[in-house]
């Protein structure tokens, strides 16, 4: 349970995962943000104004599935590193997962890295599809992994083994 061990439950996740219909249309951001805290940078990060918070900054973020285009800009902006972008339309059997990353070394495109679950368990070796910098002041990297479709909602971190 999240409050006991830091791992969100299936029920927690069910409250934020997009519908299968929306996932079939293209990339979309998923905010794994389950606790009301006073925080709103995600709402300012989205150029589509797809992320909203009502009535105030203590509310949980709501991502409008019709407005979100999966641009990934929010991934490096969330101070809690809680936003991921999943693209289920990438390949027949593969999906893309973009996750925030703040460790060294930063992986390179094409490199195989360990994909980790929400509890830090290694789910396999996956290829890095792309790496983008969050910027000089932001310093969070956005790493996009190519993973089997069935793991798209499981892989949430990477470990670069040297």
């Amino acid at each position: 349970m999240l409050i006991r061990d830091g791992i969100p439950t299936a029920e927690d996740l069910a409250s934020v995962l997009p519908s299968p219909e929306r996932l079939a249309k293209g990339p979309i951001a998923i905010a794994e943000c389950f606790q009301s805290i006073a925080c709103n940078p995600c709402t300012k990060a989205c150029p589509q104004h797809a992320i909203t918070m009502e009535p105030d900054i203590n509310a949980l973020p709501k991502i409008d599935p019709d407005k979100c285009v999966g641009c990934r800009l929010c991934v490096a902006k969330c101070p809690g590193l809680a936003i991921f972008v999943v693209d289920m339309t990438h390949g027949e059997n593969t999906a893309l997962v973009t996750l925030p990353y703040e460790f060294l070394p930063v992986p390179e495109k094409g490199q195989a890295v360990a994909g980790l679950s929400r509890s830090g368990e290694k789910l396999g070796e996956f290829r890095v599809f792309g790496v983008a910098s969050g910027g000089k002041a932001n310093l969070t990297w956005m790493v996009t992994l190519e993973v089997p479709k069935e793991l798209a909602m499981e892989v949430r971190n990477i470990r670069v083994e040297v």
């Binding site: 009301s36 006073a38 900054i57 980790l116 929400r118 509890s119 949430r156």
Partner: protein
């Protein structure tokens, strides 16, 4: 010789810097005393991004927020910063004494804002004095300020924000965090911090504590054990964990000695983590012209400390007649920000503590 000062700010952390900036922006002349060699307080080691809203620099890393605040006050001609300057005494006649370069300075401020922050709490268990047992903030200072790898294998005690954040930063510095243990049955810090630590492979054990530490002249390991619902150790659950460092992140307590010296009405408020001065809506203590802002008036996030500093700074400036209308409007805006920051479910403890403070003040005034 006694030097006259308009607004004296004691402490150059988030609250003190924001207080100095606010008072100076209204036109007051400010002297800021910082005991360390550089201002910034604990922001200098906060490598994580802050929460809150834009007004509190949300989404920016604490180290960069610190630089911004320092730059802002450094640019102001009406702010003087004394570093390596420790305020020692607050006297009945209003004189404040400062130790600077082995010399004793005497100041007579019209208004004083105490923003001295907090100290880390300690925990009782056998062998808790072994070298290798540190405050979590101490380890954060060693690695993020000095760039020293402080440990190889760490056990963290406390899953509040400091315990979670420092654990993550230890991983960033290449240190292995074996486990986070938390005596309470639930994680006290932000769950997003817990989740990012967990998915990096660090187990978080709630309902566990340190039974004892061991080592010959230095820490070599700890024995952890489970707690029952009455917070009693459960025999048979002991777990021996070899480690070279144990970090204690078991809370902070206000550094309110100067408030005591000044004769402020003090109260022990559990929700604010210790003895705090009783303050009014402008953060003024029971001593006329003496304000308290940030952790010294109750332990809270740095975001709130910045806003409290701003509130006290504008209130002090307004009371001196500087840009009074705008200063009062800014103080109102700061109060509204604080209400918003504290209005969520996690603000319940602070709200309860502040309500107790308000009640103590009402009783004292009557």
């Amino acid at each position: 010789m006694i030097r006259d000062v308009e607004v004296l700010v004691i402490g150059g952390g988030p609250a003190g810097l924001c207080a100095a900036e606010a008072a100076a922006s209204a036109g007051a002349h400010v002297l800021l005393c910082e005991r360390d060699g550089v201002p910034g307080g604990q922001l200098v080691k906060q490598t994580h991004k802050f929460f809150g809203s834009e007004r509190q620099y949300a989404g920016e890393r604490g180290i960069f927020i610190g630089k911004k605040l320092i730059d802002a006050v450094t640019r102001r001609e009406n702010v003087e910063i004394l570093t390596d300057a420790t305020v020692l005494g607050m006297y009945e006649d209003g004189v404040v004494t400062v130790l600077k370069d082995d010399k004793h300075l005497k100041l007579r401020p019209k208004k004083t804002i105490i923003a001295t922050g907090a100290a880390e709490k300690f925990l009782t268990f056998p062998n808790n004095d072994l070298p290798g047992i540190y405050g979590a903030g101490a380890v954060q200072t060693l690695m993020n300020v000095a760039g020293v790898k402080p440990a190889e294998r760490v056990v963290m005690v406390g899953a509040g924000n400091i315990g979670l954040i420092v654990s993550y930063q230890l991983l960033q510095a290449g240190v292995r965090v074996v486990s986070v243990v938390e005596a309470a049955p639930r994680i006290g810090g932000f769950l997003v911090h817990a989740a990012k630590l967990r998915r990096a492979g660090v187990p978080i054990r709630t309902g566990w504590t340190v039974k004892e530490a061991y080592g010959n002249g230095k820490l070599e390991g700890v024995v952890l054990c489970e707690l029952d619902e009455k917070w009693q150790q459960v025999p048979g659950t002991e777990l021996d964990v070899p480690c070279d460092t144990l970090c204690l992140a078991v809370g902070l307590t206000p550094l309110s000695e100067l408030c005591w010296q000044a004769g402020c009405h003090m109260e022990f408020i559990r929700e604010l983590s210790g003895h705090v001065p009783v303050t009014d809506e402008n953060l003024m203590t029971s001593v006329e012209g003496l304000y308290a802002a940030g952790d010294v008036s109750g332990i809270e996030e740095a975001s709130s400390a910045m806003v409290e500093g701003r509130l006290a700074g504008y209130a002090a400036a307004a009371s001196l007649g500087y840009d009074a209308e705008r200063s009062r409007a800014e103080a109102d805006a700061a109060r509204a920000e604080l209400r918003e920051l504290r209005s969520g479910p996690l603000g319940g403890k602070i709200r309860a503590g502040l309500e107790k403070v308000a009640e103590k003040r009402r009783n004292a005034v009557c």
